[in-house]
Every structure is written in structure tokens, then in C-alpha cells.
Amino acid sequence: MPIQDQIAEHHSYLLRFARLQLRNDAWAEDAVSETLLAALAKPQSFGNQSQLKTWLVGILKHKIVDSIRQRTREINIDNTGETDQDQELDALVFKTDGHFASDPSDWGNPEQDLSSRQFFQVLEACAEKLPAAMGRVFLMREWLELPCEEICKELNLTSTNLYVQLHRARLRLRECLELNWFGHTGSTANS
């Protein structure tokens, strides 16, 4: 396959992740363009299709860290305490005495069976729904796999702030999956 076609094939995939991480379309486009330009500079790497993707994502991750680093001041983390939405979520999940309002549901083993494609779509959609600043931090941890100390350094956060953001992100993600994934399995259980 010609190099241009191979690139076109991966472009939208890379852009999806770049957008999810950077939460800014222009920055994401730039990071992906830089990635593909860097890749084109080494055409000998375009042999193996399956490795190509991994390799491109590897480059993209570096470009994204650079992008975040350049914009630390722009991507201020709002840390004005607990938001209404976080409190609402708490009130939804727990009773005032600290018990669960209703038991957490059984999600099955979506990551092990053939329904996983839908599960990952729901997971990604839920990550996308996180507020931008929180989503960025969460993706830095879960997708860029940066150590907490490094995220703190790049974003000028205290470790307490970081843990609060990650904590809220995970709670929201769980709730989103509870609503959208369990709803999904529940509705198809009899089909």
C-alpha cells in the first residue's frame, strides 16, 4: 500500500485520541500532523502494518506531551473545590448514612468477551464526557501513562489536587458506565 494511503488510514484514529487527550481540535490536528510528518521522515518504518500503528501512537504521545507542556498556562485546572455535579453524583450513588443507594450492578466481563467493542465505545464516550480539564488529567494518567509526579509537574498541580481530579474522573466514569453499559446489557439480556 502506498505510504499516503497508509497515513490516511491512521489519520482519523490518531486524531480521535489526540482530541480526547487535548480537548482542543486545533491542538489535536497539529499534534497529529507533526506525528505524521515525523513518520514520513522515516519511510523505512512503513513496512509492517500492525507495528506501524503502535509506532505512530508512540510518536503521537510524545507530540501530545510537548503540546501540553507548551500550554500549561492555558490549561489551568479549575480547583475551586467540589462542584455541584460531583455533589449530585455523590447524592445519587450514596444515601446520607453512607450506604449505597442501590447496589452496584454486575457488568459481566465485557473486556473478555465479544461484546467488548461496544463496551469500549461506551468507555470512550464516557471519557469524552468528562469536563475538559478533568478529562485531560485522566487521559494523561490512563492513556499517556504518565507518573503522577510528572503530571503534577507538567500542569503545575499539587499531588492533592491531582488525586482529587483523578478521583472525580473515575467516579464519573464509573457512574457513566453504570448507566450506559449496564443499561445496554440489561436491554439485550433477553435477545
Binding site: 500503528k53 503502535t54 501512537v57 455523590d90 450513588v93 450514596f94 448514612d97 453512607g98 450506604h99 449505597f100 447496589d103 452496584p104 450492578s105 454486575d106 457488568w107 466481563n109 465485557p110 473486556e111 465479544l114 467488548s116 467493542r117 463496551f119 469500549f120 468507555l123 470512550e124 494518567r141 490512563e142 492513556w143 501513562e145 503522577c148 488525586y163 483523578l166 478521583h167 473515575r170 467516579l171 466514569l173 464509573r174 458506565l177 453504570e178
Partner: protein, 72 residues
């Protein structure tokens, strides 16, 4: 024993925190004790573990291979 008692809300919070940092020994012990006695919290723990596994696969693009296998 009171000092080791945690509500489900506190336990859920610990289970989430555990994803990003090591818990102090006292919290780990309290967590164990609560999980052994509670019906709801082990379900929450399973969800958190499912999220952990799924996120690991997601960032390693294993779901793309899963989608190939399912014929999409």
C-alpha cells in the same frame, strides 16, 4: 474496632483512590474488613477492577483486535 469502621461511601472512595496511590496500612486493613462483611462494596470493587482492565486494553488497542475477531 470503631477506628477501623468505614461506611460504604468511604470504602468506595478508598477503592477509587487505590487506583492512583498506595493506601496507608490502616486503610488497607479497614478496607479488607469491610469488604469481607459487606454485600455491595465487593460489587463496586469488581466494577473498579473491570475499569482498570478495560482501560489497560483500551490504551494498548487490544479492542481493535477484539473488533476484528467479532467480525466488524
Amino acid at each position: 474496632m470503631m477506628i477501623l469502621r468505614r461506611t460504604c461511601k468511604q470504602v468506595a472512595s478508598l477503592l477509587i483512590a487505590r487506583e492512583d496511590r498506595d493506601l496507608p496500612l490502616a486503610d488497607r486493613l479497614a478496607l479488607r474488613l469491610h469488604l469481607a462483611a459487606c454485600k455491595a462494596c465487593p460489587k463496586f470493587e469488581r466494577q473498579v477492577l473491570t475499569m482498570r482492565n478495560a482501560l489497560r486494553q483500551w490504551r494498548n488497542y487490544e479492542m481493535d483486535e477484539a473488533s476484528v475477531k467479532s467480525g466488524d
